[in-house]
Structure formats: C-alpha cells, structure tokens
Symmetry: C2
Subunit: 221 residues, 2 copies
C-alpha cells in the first residue's frame, strides 16, 4: 500500500468519526487492519497531525483531534475566505459546461430538499461547493480548501437542521447559482460568505464543541 493511500484510509476513518474526537488512536489495531507495520502508520499519523486531524502527545501517543468552539469559528472564517476567493476566480474562469453541471447538481439538491433527504442534500451541497472551488482553476486553493473543510466536515454536515434554516439555505443556494450564472464574482463571493457565516452560526448555536459525550447524529429538527 502506498503512503498516500495509508494517509487517505486513516483520514477517512477519522472523518467518518469511527474514532471519536479525543479518543486514542489504536496503533496496533490499525496496523492489523491495514496490514502494515508501525513505521508507515506512524508516518501517516504525523502527516495527519500536520493537517490538524490528529493530535500528537509526546510519549503518550496520538488522539483524534477535538475541535473547540473557537476552532470551529476560526476554521469557518478561513473557509469563508477561501470560498469567497474561489467564487471570484470561478466567475472569471468557469466554462458554460461547468455552470450547467453545477445547475444540474443544484436541481438535484433542491429535489433532495423537497423529499426531505438530508443526507443526499448534504452530499449534493458539498459537491456544489467543491465544484465552485474547482472551477477557480487553482489546484493550490483546491488542496487548501480540502484540508480546511476536512477539519470542519463533521461540524458542517453533521448538525441538526430546522426546516426553516434548511429552506433558507436552499434560497441562498439559489442566489449562489444565480450569481454564478451571471458570472458576478463580487456577488457570488458575498453570498458565499454570508452562507457560510449562517452555517457557522447554526453549528455554534447547536453547541457543536467536541467535548466528551457529544454524540453528533445527523437529524432534522
């Protein structure tokens, strides 16, 4: 197994929440599971620690990183900056075909909302945000965005949702699509920031902080 694959597998395990934030990372167990020895596993853990997904405690092993409210606030703030930049650049560079693809994804997402399928809604939602960032045509930005959003993924996509907020988020997404179709960079940038600011408030209000025994589950209302 290649180094990057090991990193990816462990990252997935962490993002899935299979190892709860704050919990010790069972080295031996992961070695058995991935069929590798401790050396490549530990290399991967150091990389994930640099990404902020793992916390290394000298002589005490590694734990799945835990986010405080402040962390969530900060990361959302950075995410706003990155998406705002992506929005502006995307409007300069996006092709008609890419816009059409995003419009289609948007339509799907709206359908998932109508049908009340939150999981599929979130999946589509994420795809749209990622498509906009990709359309900016800046791989460095894509990589950074991926790393920041990974850290707040659980906060962003595993948070309770009221029907009101959900409907409002869909409205915002209509404005996002609209700005993109008009290639209104400043407008798109502005909407994306507001959209994320609202999401952040929801998350913080829901009391996201990953303290012990905060068992997040995907649910509506």
């Amino acid at each position: 197994m290649l180094h990057e694959e090991v990193v990816g597998r462990i990252r997935a395990i962490l993002l899935d929440g299979e190892i709860t934030p704050g919990a010790r990372i069972p080295e031996r167990e992961l070695c058995d599971r991935l069929q590798i020895s401790r050396t490549p596993l530990r290399e991967a853990l150091k990389v994930l620690a640099a990404e902020g997904l793992v916390q290394l405690l000298p002589h005490r092993g590694s734990r799945a990183a835990k986010l405080t409210d402040k962390d969530v606030r900060d990361l959302f703030e950075v995410c706003q900056g990155l998406e705002a930049l992506a929005g502006e650049l995307a409007c300069e560079r996006i092709t008609d075909a890419e816009i059409d693809a995003i419009a289609a994804a948007h339509a799907d997402m709206v359908r998932h909302h109508r049908e009340g399928d939150l999981i599929q809604y979130y999946r589509g939602n994420r795809a749209i945000h990622e498509a906009i960032v990709t359309a900016a045509g800046n791989p460095a930005l894509v990589a950074l965005y991926a790393s920041v959003t990974a850290r707040i993924r659980r906060a962003r996509y595993v948070t309770p949702m009221t029907p009101q907020r959900w409907a409002f988020a869909v409205k915002e997404h209509e404005a996002i699509l609209n700005a993109l179709q008009r290639r209104d960079g400043a407008g798109l940038s502005h909407i994306l920031r507001a959209h994320l600011r609202h999401k952040r408030e929801e998350v913080l209000q829901a009391g996201f902080a990953e303290t012990e025994g905060n068992d997040l589950a995907l649910r509506i209302a």
Copy 2:
C-alpha cells in the same frame, strides 16, 4: 530532538535554499547532520511533502519541490485571499498597541528603503504582513498563511527589484498602514490584494520559475 524540531530544521534548510529546488534530498547526510536515524527524518520529509515543500517520488527518494510559474501564480492568488481576509478581520480586532507596533515597523522599513538596504527592508516587510495576519486573531489562518507563504518565500523575497517598483511598494505600504489605522477593513483588504498582485507580476515577469540553473540572488535593479 523532537519531531517538530526536525521538521523545522529541514524546513529551514529548504527555505534557505541550501538544498536547491529540484535537488535530491541527501537522506544519509541529513541524518548525520541532525544526529538522527532515517526513521524520524523520513517522518519529517513526509510532513514537508504534505506541506508542498518536498516532492516524494516512489522508490526514487525525495527532492526539494520546484515551483512552476503556474504554482507561483496559484500560491500568490491564495495568499491574496488569505491576506485580504486577515486584513478585514484585523481591522475589526486589532488593538491600538498592535497598530502602534506595526506603525513602528513600517517606519523602520521606510528607513531601510531610504538607506537602500533591501535585506532589512524585506525582513521588515515580512514582519508587517505577518503582524497583520496575527492581528486577525485566528490561529488557523496564521498557520495556513505560514504554510502558503513558506512555499513562495523565495519568490517573494528573493527577486530583483527596480528603484521604481521599490518606491511604489513603499507607497502601497503607506496606504496599508493608513487603512489599518482607520480600521478600514474593506480598504485594507483591497490594498493588500493589489499589493500582492503587483508583487506577483514582478516575480513572474522576472522569470522566477525554478528551473535548472536559475540562480536567484538578492539584488537591486
């Protein structure tokens, strides 16, 4: 030696250009020099590869990463986004004392310009940009900014400079300080972006691309 220290030492070696971009990283030699074995060294190299400073080639060892023109363009673009965000946040949160410190650093920098001391000028310049980012009060942003600027440090601070451009950059910095003192977030954000856009154009025009035998040296004119 602690893991983080190893990473830091090697990062410094790379940023100093002691290992030329594109050159193979001499594992054995670094082990001897840092008095560590290959295991911790390789852990550090993987981390630096994730940061973009090192390129890992499977079964062929690691090299100091080389930047293409496109990389420089992309990274400056991201840097613009981050500094713009930092500027806005800083204006909301910066204290009077912090502004005074930046004003003092600015005065120093202007003096270095008058005296024609490019190295000291760049040093002060960097300190100001970093102080603004720090004043945003967002550690996640600081970390990301550090990682992006590290990758373009050599491009940003080791590039020829004409007297005209230098004088213009100083003028821009006056506007930056002014916006900060007025706590004009939108204005500061705008100026920072323009400032970086200009810097990027200089760098690209100077033909920065780290191809073989591009021996960058700090010089004026």
